[in-house]
Symmetry: C2
Subunit: 337 residues, 2 copies
Amino acid sequence: MPPQRATLLQVAQRAGVSRSTASFVLTGRYKDMRISEDARQRVLRAAQELDYRPNLMARSLRTKVTKTVALISDTIASDQYAGRMIHGSLAAAVARGHLLFIGETEGDPVVEEKLISDFLDRQVDAFLYASMFTRPIRVPKQLRDRKVVLLNCLNRGSFPVIIPDELSAGRDAARTLLEAGHRTGIYLVGHVPDQVFAGRERLAGINEALGAAEARLAGTIDCDWWPGSAYDAVSRALADGLVPKALICLNDRVALGAYQALREAGVDIPGEVSVISFDDSELAAWLRPQLTSISLPHYELGWQAIETLLGDSTEPAVQRLPMPVRRRASIGPPRGE
Amino acid sequence: MPPQRATLLQVAQRAGVSRSTASFVLTGRYKDMRISEDARQRVLRAAQELDYRPNLMARSLRTKVTKTVALISDTIASDQYAGRMIHGSLAAAVARGHLLFIGETEGDPVVEEKLISDFLDRQVDAFLYASMFTRPIRVPKQLRDRKVVLLNCLNRGSFPVIIPDELSAGRDAARTLLEAGHRTGIYLVGHVPDQVFAGRERLAGINEALGAAEARLAGTIDCDWWPGSAYDAVSRALADGLVPKALICLNDRVALGAYQALREAGVDIPGEVSVISFDDSELAAWLRPQLTSISLPHYELGWQAIETLLGDSTEPAVQRLPMPVRRRASIGPPRGE
């Protein structure tokens, strides 16, 4: 049974002052009101002894300001990615003296509506609307007149948007191979459906950078973005006589499947085939040889979203955050050269 | 600039009724007060048109009941585990008509205190206090008189606790090998410091089950619970002439490193060495051969914690949830038999 809250009146009585005096002290207005230091100390001590908790909502109703931000997300963790995004947001919020509430909807519009309503009823007035993978979204009706920043999702409206720079990442993947001497036998591994932002942008960047060096992709080994599917597709391609010199895997899980297929076929990495990937998840450093992979800057996405939401930002409406190349040991010169 | 909230008075005016009538309708007391159906409908329509939002806190202050649970966690995502735990809690909360707020502290006691204070100030009155890996904790002072369930953490007090049954998991790991015919050459891979609950309990269960079959561990290949460390330790052991018949890896990441070492030494799994593991993370199904691993029931932990918190639970104070064995392809009979 929770203890009854101590009231302002009880604090005042314990301190031997009037209720209004206690109120002035506890709201920091004692200087204006010429309250003695002795009275002030008695009030503070009484409040502490009674574990007096000011009704935050009452104060908020007067000032209409809260120091809490809510992050609404479709899913908290498909893997560790979401966690890093939230860590970035949390760190930035704490650095600015705000708290972060997290609400997860699992994509359920009913839960989303209730969650947002509940946050609004609790006087939360700044929101991050987040998605675990970059995709277009519709901002919920309840948030349209509110202070909102879109974190890792896209919208045709005028809300500030923080996304990863997938186009540059694609260019960098291609350039890393070009710098190692590759020009031919470069295959994309994965699948690029039109609706997936990351895949589409990465492929556009790859094609652009290869084209600028008068090179091009030799083809695509089509598979889902999962190890089992990549293993099957690459195994089949190798068995059919394909002789790749480099593989651009659309994420580390695809690279894992590709590694397994190459290994089973007795093909050495990077001696015979170079492999580059995207995401730079934990898996990249665990594979042997360690995988060169292009980082998704989840922590920075989360951080920058809060900075944009709470700061006096003069940033452009759409901020594309850089995706650094994590160079490891999976790239070498083309075989036979 | 957020729109000003519509007030109860504005709703009443729009509906052409008194403020008190509007209040009775919107709090469901219209039957008591003999308000006409026509008046009721006008009030409801006015409230909808004005997007009237009752001050939830005002109502809560009268009833002292909220339908929101807060989950306080040290960290949201070391990997996908935390996500599954939260999914379980979320699903159970929604099934019971509650919302779930999540607050992450990253183990910072200052953030934790502020977060809890803020939740208490917002009339949240039921809490899950969670840890991402099973460990003893001290319940924060602010929560000691509140409704709290400990999720994946331990405490000497009287709070309900939901943890995984690591002791049984250890027994099951050993029994799975015994059933396949193993008695000798069984090595533990990992590290069991006294303070780590999972390691300690698993080892106790392993020793108990092997002992009951008059068998025992041949030794421990000591390493950190990470692939690189496991790879180094197992490689070294094999080079030193160790001939294991089975490896009990303390988690899937350790198993990955062990697989890499075995493969490099030309040792076949499961033909020459059987491997069993714990966690049943995504990695277990991605390895080749697919890894038999004992599942950490994160979703169920999260679900059961909410059920215990919100239900009329007659469960014991400490609930140990079963850890199912996910049988895959990494175990065979001992070599040479």
